[in-house]
């Protein structure tokens, strides 16, 4: 069950958490070791610049997918406008550093604030819409904000915005990892709180939630604001990491689609689903990005995979292994046990 129970059986769960913790520790610590030590430990890839880039990108998408999960997975409002929060965060940090000569640290902290404020303002009218109306409206906001920024001279207009280069692979890897950890931790805390149960109730049946006493508007806007803050923070880190931002690289609707795919593929509404989805999907994309025709086929493959997943395991892969879905392994196991008993 999604709500007050833990999804996996305790033994399976403990094992998964332990394995995850070890893998995470390896990833987190590996970059700190010197190149030689890493080579000897058999972890040469993580000290390579290219792989640093990929690891940082993966962490970024873990943050974005987890943040999307708060509004899309928990509250059930499929936002296509989260990319606006990312772009706003990026441009906030970018403008403060580049135009106003702020130091990176305070400029980074401003990013989530601006995105959250923006979410609070647009959340009130937008979150009255439901289903595809909400999806389309948020999509419009995402595109509109990108266009506005693209036409603002002080923000570099169509040329984009350049930030002074800060060369530290390690710093940006850890900042993205920290943002991702924050997003995952936030989801974990929310899912155990009254607030989280209120969001789930809204997702499952909004009228029923309202008449049992859930302040639906406040809850939805809060979820939107939290998602925006986390997404904006990732945007701020990205701006300085990439040291160049424009409409194409921080307001791309395809990135918004990607975070949705990751969350849905891994398991929307769960803590670890979006993490799994982001890691697997981003690594696949990065690996296949190089080859010409391979890239095309990989795109088609991802599309097919997504369709199959949405149809057969709508609650995501996490559910497939432990859950209630009629097509899950857990269901199969239970059915076999019941029929043989």
């Amino acid at each position: 069950m999604i709500a007050l129970h833990l999804r996996l059986r305790p033994s399976t769960r403990r094992l998964a958490v332990a394995a995850g913790a070890i893998a995470l520790a390896a990833v987190v610590i590996a970059p700190l070791s010197s190149t030689d030590a890493a080579q000897q430990a058999g972890l040469p890839l993580l000290t390579d610049r290219l792989w640093f880039r990929i690891a940082t990108t993966v962490a970024m998408f873990v943050a974005l997918a987890s943040a999307w999960n708060v509004i899309g997975g928990l509250a059930g409002y499929a936002s296509f406008g989260n990319i606006a929060f990312f772009g706003l965060g990026a441009y906030t940090t970018g403008a403060l550093v580049s135009n106003l000569r702020w130091a990176f640290a305070p400029a980074l902290l401003a990013a989530p604030l601006v995105s959250a404020l923006f979410a609070a303002v647009i959340g009130l009218p937008l979150l009255r819409l439901r289903g595809h109306y909400f999806a389309v409206a948020t999509l419009g906001v995402g595109v509109a904000v990108g266009e506005v920024v693209n036409n603002l001279g002080p923000l570099g207009g169509a040329t984009g915005l350049f930030l002074p280069i800060l060369r530290s692979d390690l710093l940006f890897f850890y900042l993205m990892l920290g943002t991702a950890a924050l997003a995952v931790a936030a989801t974990w805390v929310i899912l155990r709180s009254r607030f989280g149960f209120g969001l789930l109730a809204i997702r499952e049946n909004e009228e029923a939630a309202a008449v049992i006493g859930v302040n639906t508007i406040f809850y939805k806007v809060s979820a939107f604001v939290i998602a925006a803050a986390l997404t904006g923070l990732a945007g701020g880190v990205f701006a300085q990491w990439n040291s160049f931002i424009n409409q194409e690289n921080v307001f791309a609707v395809s990135d918004n689609v990607e975070m949705i795919l990751m969350a849905v593929l891994g398991g929307a509404g769960t803590v670890l689903g979006p993490v799994a989805g982001a890691v697997v999907l981003e690594l696949t994309i990065e690996t296949l990005a190089g080859g010409g025709s391979a890239a095309v086929y990989s795109q088609i493959g991802l599309g097919v995979l997504l369709t199959v997943c949405v149809i057969f395991i709508p609650r995501g892969v996490i559910d497939f292994f432990g859950g209630q879905s009629r097509l899950s392994l857990g269901y199969l196991r239970r059915t076999l046990r019941e029929t043989s008993a």
């Binding site: 709500a3 007050l4 209120g198 029923a208 309202a210 008449v211 049992i212 006493g213």
Partner: protein, 265 residues
Amino acid sequence: MESAGGILPWSEWGHNSVSLLAVNDLGKRFGGVQALQGVSFTVQDGDVLGIIGPNGAGKTTLLNCVSGLFRPDRGDIRWQDRSIVGQAPYRIARLGIGRTFQIVRPFPSMTVRENTAMGALFGQPAGRLQPAEALRQADAVLDLVGLADKRSHPVLRLTVPDRKRLEVARALAMRPRLLLLDEVMAGLNQVEVEQALEMVRQVRASGVAIVLIEHVMKVIVGVCNRALVLNLGRPLLEGPPSEVLRDRRVIEAYLGERYARGGDA
């Protein structure tokens, strides 16, 4: 008046007291359909008010207005003498008004117990429970409505009567002072109706006032102390159940409907 209510038990201030719920001249229109017109009634502590009337009479619309899902076009709804028209549904819920839905609205991916706990978690006027405590309270409510042995079932595996019981359980877990029940006994067999009646009596005995929409006459006579008949959105008459059900106009309203739907049988 208000301060006196805090000191005296309700029975001692009798009929001059402030009503728990007072609906006055309520009107609601949907396009060309006048769903409610000139509907007035009150509910006192200890009341079980039955509302009957053929399909389309406006019974569900009335509940939707009281619980804040619809805003009435005219008239007033007062809770302990304060108007609640235009208030958000969650505020009305926390005043102590719980309701069920005729077309059930469970939280589909949660278990029976979790569904019920949601009512306790959010609906109680007294304040904020933690999830663990809400689950504990859900168990007590599930005993009362007869769902105790199905508490860990996913709701999608429940039969229709059980889903109706769950609606009642979730509303009861809110610890309401007024419970609005919309056809929760439709589709139950004789034995199940008896069980449901017993449940309603227990709820009433625990000090909860009830508004009960029902077609089964046995239910109206069995637990209601007053009945209100609606027809085409208007109040037809109000009075003690046995008298109301004997009235020619009421019989006609129902028979008329049955003739009109003759093809169904």
